[in-house]
């Protein structure tokens, strides 16, 4: 491997990420399964970095899952996204920060469509106006939330309480990065580092002391694939895709997987449970799984956030061994306790649990 070769490519694929004043749009999957991650993102930006992030409670799903599931037509989704832009315009924001990679892909697809087919933009304006009476300005930039963390990765590193390092051996943790397909495979120029060698997560991992694993199936889809997952009979495809990735990364004995897409994080976590239940196979040492973390969770851990506050106890593959390796002391007694002291439900059959 020649690092200078990758640097060459990364230099070619850089995008403009604004410094401040973001209009934040949430992710359906992330706010359902990783609600703590979005919370952590907002906290990091607002509290640790002192940025202005605006959320409008009236913003909705982008309908991307419906769109890729063939139930929402393109005209509809354009109008829904235009409404988001209208909300941003009304609030005076020109930079969109997107939590979800599916949404991010939808936004890039729509913006590119408008660029090449201005008549669709005109039509969308008309549709939106007829439906809601709103108008909008096309945003100046769109960033995925991971782009923003990437931009401030060194700042976060400077404030780090923990690093992606095994405190016992002093060796960097071996980290698998997984980029959502819709982040840059459709339009490489919208992704940091392009499509073949995206830099967005690698940049974070390296800044925070970890070692990135480049394994053969690195580019492969997690298996979500919308239709593959949504139709139960097709889930075997979805599961197979994840398994292919696990088998490919297994020889490297990774300490954790970081994903920038909510769907990927969910599937790579949940499918480890399913594979263990179906075939009794796990991909870590001694029957352990490989923890799958969102980049917000990793950034939060680096900054010293409490993993239980970020909801990491609700992953199928638990991170206790990983936390121990990083030297993070998470109070086991608080793991399933709410802030008010009441007990939270405790999931069964957790891996590494």
């Amino acid at each position: 491997m020649k690092p200078e070769g990758k640097k060459r490519i990364w230099a070619e694929y850089q995008k403009e990420i604004p410094d401040d004043h973001f209009f934040y749009v949430r992710s359906c999957i992330r706010q359902t399964f990783f609600a703590g991650s979005e919370q952590a993102f907002l906290k990091i930006l607002r509290d640790d970095l002192g940025k202005d992030v605006f959320e409008d409670p009236r913003h909705t799903t982008c309908t991307g899952i419906g769109y890729h599931g063939d139930v929402v037509p393109f005209e509809t989704i354009q109008t829904v996204v235009a409404r988001h832009f209208a909300l941003a315009t009304e609030a005076g924001y020109r930079h969109i920060a997107i939590s979800c990679v599916t949404s991010f892909g939808i936004y890039t697809e729509i913006l590119e469509t408008w660029k090449h087919f201005p008549e669709t933009l005109a039509r969308t304006r008309e549709d939106l106006y007829k439906a809601t009476g709103r108008t909008f300005a096309v945003p100046e930039t769109i960033s995925h939330a991971s782009d923003i963390i990437y931009k401030f990765r060194d700042e976060i590193a400077r404030k780090a309480k923990y690093n992606l390092v095994d405190i016992k051996t002093g060796k960097p943790l071996k980290v698998v990065e997984h980029i959502g397909c819709h982040y840059s495979k459709m339009f490489p120029k919208y992704g940091i580092g392009g499509a073949e060698f995206p830099h967005v997560l690698i940049g974070m991992i390296e800044s925070w002391g970890g070692d990135v694993i480049d394994y053969p199936e690195r580019r492969h889809c997690c298996g979500f694939g919308f239709r593959q997952y949504l139709v139960q009979a097709n889930r075997g495809y979805s599961l197979f895709a994840s398994r292919k990735k696990f088998e490919s990364m297994e020889p490297y004995q990774p300490d954790l997987i970081i994903a920038n897409c909510p769907g990927c994080a969910m599937f790579m976590d949940r499918w480890q449970y399913t594979i263990k239940e179906m075939d009794g196979i796990t991909y870590g040492d001694d029957g352990q799984g490989i923890p799958v973390l969102t980049y917000e969770e990793v950034a939060g851990l680096v900054l010293g956030y409490d993993p239980w506050d970020m909801g990491m106890q609700y992953h199928n593959v638990q991170s206790l061994p990983l936390l121990a390796r990083m030297g993070i002391r998470a109070d086991p007694a608080r793991r399933f306790l709410a802030k008010d002291g009441t007990s939270l439900p405790e999931p069964a059959n957790l891996i590494n649990g």
Binding site: M1, K2, G5, R8, G194, E196, Y215, P216, E217, S248
Partner: protein, 343 residues
């Protein structure tokens, strides 16, 4: 009064330029041969052996060197022709470095550039060890040592055809013609050098257009046991043993195929050379959709530029093998001499 000796500038000192210069000089015409490199010879300088007979490239280099060792030829190296314009019947060429050269005619023989394999990011050239280009492999042949970066001997080599050719993703729809037969030739050479090494060619079509090319292809299968898999490699990665893992569709089986390789050779195609493209732009020479120089007529005027006194020779007009380049170059000389006589 004795007629003034005619003077022709040849832009580019590769195969086409050298042949043109030699032919012109033989006819008593004064030639200025402008070459961008240290020495004339062009891409042929790197080549070890030539298809289809696998003769040493040095034999052809020797021929060309002899061709330009003529009192009528003045070779200017480390120089390019930047712009050409007419001044009456005279042609004025601006050379890099600021000098000017005046002549009665000019032959453009700026040749081709090899496709920059970095642009096919998915193959990992310059990123993964043991991904090399066909030109790199030729250098290895020159040293008679085909090895991996760690010095070990490869046990399986894959040749990836059409890298930078027939691929709209890199803006090249044209076929570079010679890469197929080059791959066959190199595959045979690998098998001869490393008899234990398995060799695979990943191709979309095998375009064996020249005499004895198809025979060479057959020989590679029959005698040298070279394997051919029809399919375009989509991506390459490395595994924990630092072996390359490639993905391709075996289109004949209709199934995806995964294979580990010790060494991956990218058969890089031909593109319009950068100095050639610059010259075309500054001097108003038209180029085609393949970005090569567009000749005045596709069938019977492939040496004519459409501008009086400017002629084309060789691969600045389209990908060609050496045989065709030399023929094309001689034809360019014929056109030039006819033009000089008519003035």
């Amino acid at each position: 009064m004795k007629e003034k000796t005619k003077h022709v500038i040849v832009a580019g000192g590769g195969v086409a330029g050298m042949e043109a210069a030699g032919s012109l000089a033989e006819m008593g015409i004064r030639v200025t041969l402008v070459e961008k490199g240290e020495d004339p010879g062009g891409h042929l300088l790197q080549w070890h052996a030539l298809f289809p007979g696998r003769r040493p490239a040095e034999e052809v280099r020797k021929y060309l060197r002899k061709r330009i060792a003529h009192e009528n030829i003045n070779v200017i190296t480390r120089t390019t022709v930047e712009k050409v314009r007419h001044h009456g019947h005279e042609i004025i060429a601006d050379l890099s470095g600021g000098t000017q050269e005046r002549a009665d005619a000019l032959i453009v023989a700026t040749g081709f550039d090899l496709f920059d394999a970095h642009r096919k990011e998915e193959y990992g050239y310059g990123i993964y060890d043991n991904v090399i280009t066909s030109a790199d492999l030729e250098e290895m042949f020159n040293r008679k040592r085909v090895v991996r970066t760690d010095g070990s001997v490869p046990s399986r080599i894959g040749f990836i055809h059409c890298v930078g050719s027939r691929d709209e993703k890199v803006n090249n729809n044209h076929c570079s013609k010679v890469c197929c037969v080059s791959a066959v030739k190199q595959a045979i050479e690998v098998r001869k050098l490393l008899p234990e090494c398995e060799v695979f060619c990943f191709y979309m079509d095998m375009r064996m257009f020249g005499p004895y090319y198809e025979e060479l292809y057959r020989e590679s299968q029959e005698v040298h046991n070279v394997n051919y898999i029809r399919g375009k490699v989509s991506e390459a990665s490395v595994n924990i043993n630092n072996r390359l893992v490639i993905k391709v569709e075996d289109t004949l089986a209709g199934r995806p195929l995964k294979m580990e390789l010790d060494l991956m050779v990218l058969m890089v195609g031909m593109e319009m050379s950068k100095p050639g493209a610059r010259l075309a732009e500054t001097s108003g020479l038209s180029t085609g959709i393949n970005r090569f120089l567009e000749s005045a007529d596709h069938h019977y005027g492939s040496n004519r530029s459409g501008v009086a006194g400017i002629f084309y020779a060789g691969t600045c007009t389209a990908p060609m093998n050496i045989t065709d380049t030399i023929s094309h170059s001689r034809a360019a000389v014929e056109e030039t001499v006819r033009y000089l006589g008519s003035k």
